[in-house]
Symmetry: C2
Subunit: 360 residues, 2 copies
């Protein structure tokens, strides 16, 4: 297997949380060389404990409001959707985001899985969304393209997203949690695959990495939680939008390895309350995303995303006024993105980092 860069200076780890980050202890051997961006959800007066020795910046709601001003309205409150604020303020090329109830998983051999290393491998090797390879990732060690795979497609496409999976507690919706309270995921599937072009997937934000330069502006987690009619569709929303845009811009999305160990099922009754509108809305949302064709003139993620926002307002607005608000928030998000991430001026110095609460 070719040696890949470790991206130590090119990747931020984004963690949304409401509690002390003791879970980082278990990740110390893997995460300590990286910079963390912690997005504190809920009451800003709470103190979030971070284990010694980690390099981090932490933002609470007051910071979000101060940095974004009126545009802060696009960042959800009391919902893990707030994590996308971390994507916005990062200055790195790559993001890895993980939930604070996720721990280091083990391979069947007992070896601890370095999830971040596998995500980096996924992001730094090409994707193959234009044709299916039956032996999975052709860029994995000991693997290749099978007979019948067109040679013209073997260079692959740049990888924008790496979607990792979960052992132990699977990512089920509330109805499935209620019906199968004891189901645990024990199946370790030793594969990474590209999700084909034209196919949507349910993107989970629990264990996710992406190339911020390639797809960052599409990684908006929507309006969820406090004051909104739904929750637990933040990552799904980002996944649908991002996949449609990746397909349009010929970028790849991978899923499979790495696994993390998801320790605790959330409360299915609370989840049902958050999800129930999403569960019936998605029956219309998914055909909407499946039928979208972005104009050829949309050549940047921002162009695509604004076009998508307009379509959301126009077509999903018919389902519920919520989607008009969401469409507006999508536009606000892009404005905020462009403000904090201006295109690098040719031959001049790097722009100053926004005035934020730096700790450690």
């Amino acid at each position: 297997m070719a040696q890949l860069r470790d991206l130590k200076d090119e990747l931020d780890i984004v963690i949304p949380t409401i509690r002390n980050l003791d879970f980082l202890e278990m990740w110390r051997p893997f995460f300590q060389p990286y910079h963390l961006i912690i997005v504190q959800d809920g009451d800003p007066s709470n103190t979030i404990g971070v284990p010694e020795g980690f390099d981090y910046e932490l933002y609470n709601r007051n910071d979000v409001n101060r940095i974004l001003g009126p545009k802060a309205s696009c960042i959800s409150f009391k919902d893990s959707a707030c994590r996308c604020f971390g994507f916005l303020v990062s200055k790195k090329k790559y993001i890895f985001t993980i939930d604070d109830d996720c721990f280091v998983a083990k391979e069947p051999s007992g070896k601890e899985i370095n999830a971040l290393e596998q995500h980096i491998r996924n992001l730094l090797t090409p994707s193959t969304p234009l044709f299916f390879n039956t032996l999975y990732d052709p860029f994995a060690n000991g693997s290749d393209f099978v007979r019948g795979y067109p040679f013209s497609l073997r260079e692959g496409l740049p990888t924008a997203i790496s979607h990792g999976l979960w052992l132990n507690i699977p990512d089920y919706d509330a109805p499935t949690q209620l019906v199968k309270p004891r189901e645990r995921n024990t199946r370790y599937v030793n594969a990474v695959m590209t999700i084909p072009k034209g196919t949507l997937f349910p993107m989970c934000g629990m264990n996710l990495a992406f190339d911020r330069e390639l797809i960052g502006p599409a990684m908006y987690f929507g309006l969820m939680g406090d004051g909104q009619p739904i929750g637990r569709y933040d990552d799904m929303w980002a996944g649908w939008c991002a996949k449609v845009i990746c397909d349009h811009l010929l970028l790849g999305v991978k899923t499979g390895l790495p696994y993390i160990w998801h320790s605790k099922a959330s409360n299915p009754f609370v989840n049902l309350k958050k999800e129930y509108k999403g569960i019936y809305w998605q029956e219309d949302i998914i055909p909407f995303f499946q039928s979208i064709a972005l104009r050829e003139e949309c050549t940047s993620v921002q162009d695509c995303y604004i076009e998508l926002a307009n379509k959301v307002k126009e077509r999903l607005g018919l389902i519920d006024p919520y989607f008009e608000k969401l469409g507006d928030a999508m536009v606000t998000w892009i404005e905020a993105w462009n403000e904090l991430n201006p295109p690098p001026p040719a031959q001049t110095a790097t722009l100053a980092h926004p005035n934020v609460a730096m700790k450690n």
Copy 2:
């Protein structure tokens, strides 16, 4: 895991061969309850030895000619493409076809894999081609649909094809064989997945099962081998045609488990000679299949296949006259299929089996 039927009286095992079938000894515990259809390729005066105790019928080229008359021209000679003759004469609902250099593989635990049982499981449980499930087959034991999977799609679609994989010698084309002569597939991926609608895949005929009633007439392996300009694209051809038709008729195609142990790499120099036209033709053939839209009026596999044959002649005929011949052979194949597999007359006795060489 729900107990599934063993399909003992509903499935034929089709084996194309030019040699004694000693490989069946290893499969005895798994195959002996089933009926075998052996298609003898090459010189009909050779005798193919079949181990004692198997229930089989064997067809050589003389039988093919006698049964099909002038339509025998659509059955390839000196190429494993001749296997599709077995699909034609079977009277069963399901087919499993396997090459005679494939042996019983083992799980990482050391347990022998009952490939046929897994294919049956794949065929008897639904497919999910309309949306991607990140935890793989939602009908597998201990698995389900993940959060964000639309509930309206959870019934799935009927499964038409189950494509199994290979440990040890991977199914590589001649150039890859030449470049990586020592590469072996040692990666056991414990998953079955549905290939999404709209996505083509390289279907290998080495370890393959399908529902003859749902997709049989599309499982034509084309004109290959003796007197033809290409070989080793027989299963690919069937796979492209069958996938396009499955997508049109809303049928599912699965790939992944079960593995067989592929014992011997074929000669890459011989393979290169057979493949080289296919390698450049497929650069046009695949966009052709990717762009095909079958008319809504095509509601049977036969309708779809005839329409496809016409498009092949019209559009691929521009690449090489071979494709006009192939298009004609596709039509002949359907004529032969309809002759040997007439629709069951309502309320009358089952039609007599064609007069064939029955042994054992």
